[in-house]
Symmetry: C2
Subunit: 341 residues, 2 copies
DNA sequence: TTGTAAGCGTTATCAC
DNA sequence: GTGATAACGCTTACAA
């Protein structure tokens, strides 16, 4: 029924508990013969160490956490998947929390996790995250930043090459003959600046003047309403003037898919009137009408690497002396019908 | 830095550890005065009990798990969200695993969780789940079934009224003037039978003869290829014959969205040529072109209730004597452009 | 009403 | 190479 314990194994073997413990931990102090006997017996009785006891002893719970803004966001949920896999492979438990782009919920989550004896946390900070609090928390508990990594926090960071991703996407739209290019991005989410920079660089490289009004910043809270209003006005004008061929770059899953929905409601044809490409990590892109060209981020890998780094920190003797590095992964571009010439 | 312990508190207060422990647990043995002194001191030093020690003592880890087939499935991820919230409110940690519709991975996950001293598990069994193994596991560790609940396992079950959901959807298509109605469903996923039954009932109620060829069963493994082939052939014939107005009912998120993508590639217009409605728990439905009519399942609530029931079982004195009940929740229907007359 | 002490299952220190 | 023993922080009989 309940698991056999070290003590019971020791009794059966007629040796001491500490010897059994050492044998199972492959200590150099124990003879090969004893080790073998112990291991055989352990197998026979299907011994499983009591993690709870081990935890109490070592002070570590073998549990780490992921905090993301929204599980419903496919990109973020893929980060979680990667983290889950890495945690699993290393026999760590993984719990997750959502911050809902809310600094207070984020802080609450961190507090809860800390009380629950979590060994470390991987976080994509919320849009209005409180850096001071993160720093303070990092003193108590290892923290790794993923995706939104533009924070002045001495730790491991895993992100993507946002500038290059946005550059490639913009260049693609230009290659498709679009010279008037809108860009949608979330307010305050850290990655936006780099993406806008990439967008501008691409324009510059093609001798196209960047217009500030083409950069639409959307607040997460009322993203849909904001977006509908802004997009509708802007496009109405542009399409009336019959100026330059229009392109649209969405810098997040949600914004891009929403924008497609809005265009469809406005009966603006894609790609004929507006060519669209977006950062999007969902298979649904293929099934959209028209299918959506995307910049794909290696979300799974971000989560996976995040856990590797975190565990490295958790298990290190002195986590304040680690040589922290930042990992930047590349995006890939997939062309579909939404941006065909 | 590190948390203050009971022992240290006791020292400071000049009383014994057990008195402090009892005071903090509001034991009737302790005087109000002492309780107050202890609580004040505990607050002052920001005392947090060491969960690990408590766990070792009680034998429970205060951690529960959710196993779902795919996190990428919006319906399933919403179940997870609900579970997460309920767990959080009760100060339980929640870990999750994916079975990828694979009985072996599922069993592996259960084993891993059991070794990790999980207190209980909420599971949506995979398509080919091994009932025997589930039963066996349930002897060791509390199990609650969610969504796919048609299993002969004596435990709490939370699901939706699949028959009624499918009935409503089919009736809606009929109301929209469709009399030749296709239905897409996953093979072996338990809920399909009920949904097909609802579909047939609706046809019957409207004096429409059910045709077996209209029921398309798709294997998860090669769902996309299967679907493309089946749908393409079937629709090609139907559209050639210009018979009855066609409707399409998708019984899962994935199938429905994929079907929409396929229709769009085949340049079949929705809803003019084929009206579509599907079980789908994603906001993206609104942004699709055309926007997708959906049957929405109360996924969050399923997860939430699942955790409530599970914790009830975990904390009960004798979990083998509980009066297990099954909760059936209703679906709601949202009409959008994909099924407009 | 409060205190003493055992024990949960490990690991680690030190003696033999 | 092996074994006693303490310790991790808490709960809980039982003693006072």
């Amino acid at each position: 029924m309940s698991n056999i314990t070290l003590k019971e194994l020791a009794m059966k073997l007629g040796i001491s508990v500490s010897t059994v413990s050492k044998a199972l931990n492959d200590s150099f102090e124990i003879s090969d013969e004893t080790k073998q006997r112990v291991r055989d017996m352990a197998d026979e009785y299907n011994y499983r160490p009591n993690i709870l006891a081990k935890s109490l002893k070592t002070g570590r719970s073998n549990t780490i956490a992921v905090i993301i803004p929204y599980l419903a966001n496919p990109f973020q949920s893929q980060i979680l998947e990667g983290a889950q896999q890495a945690a699993n492979e290393r026999n760590y438990k993984l719990v997750f929390m959502q911050s809902r782009e809310n600094a207070e919920l984020e802080a609450d989550s961190l507090r809860t996790l800390h009380q629950q004896n979590i060994d470390g946390v991987i976080i994509t900070p919320s849009a209005d995250s409180n850096l001071k609090y993160l720093k303070q928390f990092h003193q108590l508990c290892p923290l790794v930043l993923v995706d939104r990594i533009d924070f002045d926090l001495p730790t491991f960071k895993i992100g993507v090459n946002n500038e290059k991703g946005a550059f490639d996407a913009t260049q693609h739209l230009i290659d498709m003959g679009r010279t008037d290019i809108l860009v949608l991005c979330g307010k305050n989410i850290g990655v936006s600046q780099k993406r806008i920079a990439g967008y501008k660089k691409a324009l510059l490289a093609n001798y196209i003047t960047a217009k500030e009004e083409n950069i639409i910043q959307v607040d997460y809270g009322q993203s849909r309403e904001d977006l509908i209003k802004n997009l509708t006005n802007l496009l109405a004008n542009k399409l009336k003037e019959h100026d330059n061929p229009i392109g649209l770059l969405g810098t997040t899953d949600t914004l891009t898919v929403n924008a497609l929905g809005i265009l469809s409601k406005l009966e603006i044809s894609v790609p004929a009137q507006v060519a669209v490409i977006g950062f999007a990590n969902t298979e649904i892109a293929e099934s959209l009408n028209p299918s959506l060209s995307t910049i794909i981020q290696p979300a799974f890998e971000i989560g996976y690497k995040g856990v590797e780094k975190l565990i490295q920190m958790v298990e290190s003797k002195n986590r304040f002396q680690i040589d922290f590095d930042t990992t930047i992964l590349d995006t890939t571009i997939i062309q579909r019908r939404s941006s065909k010439a």
